[in-house]
């Protein structure tokens, strides 16, 4: 089962509404369950099970914190549990949207939603550039190790300001170079052409998308309607 990227965006927005309306725990856990199912459907078993377990633990934590009257640290724990628990629907929807959408699908959705190219192009470049940062970072660390600077895992934390300068400056230097290369490459591929652009990836809303959007909205609607 693969949902349309627009459905995923809708689910993220829906999870935000849960946070906004302070819905009841029953509504919240039902929605979490409904949000976990597509994650399972996409084959992300580990992520689904992990988030589910964390949510259950937080439920237990919330419940346990109201048992005792006196101690205030228990209330801090309770507040922490409630806080993270309320974020969980958003985080689960976010994990689903982020890990199962390819870059080209995301771009296609942005274009379909009539978002101007001024926003779309930086988004494309941004997604494209993350792996480059990752590679550059490792090369910089290698170069630093070769000169005997900040070897080992926690060495960076010993001189935070120095680490920041030694890592960030080469990254920025490289970024300014890459910017020019990317510009030339992208202009050659016709990114600057006026008029509508076509996409290799096709996206389409299927019956299951509409159905899942409705199903996920039901608990929230009932919760606001006062059924719980």
């Amino acid at each position: 089962m693969a949902l349309d990227p627009r459905t995923k965006l809708y689910l993220v927005a829906l999870a935000n509404l849960l946070l906004f309306f302070h819905v009841d725990v029953v509504v919240e856990s039902l929605t979490v369950l409904l949000l976990l199912l597509p994650l399972l459907g996409a084959g992300r078993w580990a992520a689904a099970v992990r988030s589910g377990c964390i949510y259950v633990l937080l439920l237990v934590g919330t419940w346990a914190s109201t048992l005792d009257d006196g101690s205030s640290w228990l209330h801090m724990l309770g507040l922490l549990c409630v806080g993270i628990r309320m974020m969980m629907p958003c985080l689960i929807a976010g994990i689903y949207a982020f890990t199962t959408t390819t870059a080209s699908q995301f771009v296609c959705v942005l274009r379909r939603m009539r978002i101007p190219e001024t926003i779309v192009i930086p988004c494309v470049v941004c997604i494209r550039f993350f792996p480059t940062i990752h590679d550059d970072y490792h090369q910089i660390r290698d170069a630093m190790a070769l000169r005997g600077i900040a070897q080992g895992t926690f060495a960076l934390l010993r001189h935070p300001a120095q680490s920041l300068e030694y890592i960030l400056m080469p990254l920025l230097m490289n970024a300014t170079g890459v910017t020019q290369d990317l510009s030339v490459a992208a202009l050659t591929k016709g990114i600057g052409i006026r008029g509508p652009h076509t996409c290799h990836t096709e996206i389409r809303m299927h019956g299951i998308d509409w159905a899942w959007m409705v199903i996920c909205t039901v608990p929230l609607a009932l919760g606001i309607g006062g059924a719980w």
Binding site: A15, L79, P122
Partner: protein, 205 residues
Amino acid sequence: MTQQGMSTKSRHLTIPDLITIGVFTALYFVLVAMATLFSSVALMGFGMILLPAVAALICGCVYMLLVAKVGKFGAISVMGIVVGLFLFVSGHFILSLAASIVFPVIADAIARAGDYRSKTGILASYVVFCYGLTGPILPLWFMKDAYVASLQARGKDSSYIDGVFAHVNTGTFFIAMIAVLVCALLGGWLGQRMLKKHFAKTGII
């Protein structure tokens, strides 16, 4: 080289400008992710409240270099909007999208007033830009309300609840906001200094 010449003349954002913005946004986003990791792991749970301050401290160079490279109205706003979009898609609170549109646009206007050259102007705009990241920490206040509601539902009286939350109040909020101001000033100043040290000499900007 002609492309470069043209893009400095044009008052609107060109395609190379947009690509530059994209690259710097990616760097900014990675730094924000690091700040999130640091503030939630090293400072434990509620350190999340200091996220905008930590980010403000380390993102100065990226911002300053972006302003120096593009120097047109729109660059800062677009960066803010793209960051907000990524935050929203990755499951952050929806108000973080609103905050990361409103504050960068104001920051852009401030930097424009100094024609993207005035050092104090850019520093001031960086401070405003940093408040754009306060979005992700806003739910903390919702959470307190929700927890109070759950206590009330269990039949605790309100004076007892007030006692529990005596030290989680608007004071914490103001401390967090002042921390952003201080860190942004410091981070922005550091960024400008690093830029001068590493980039101005080599003629990159």
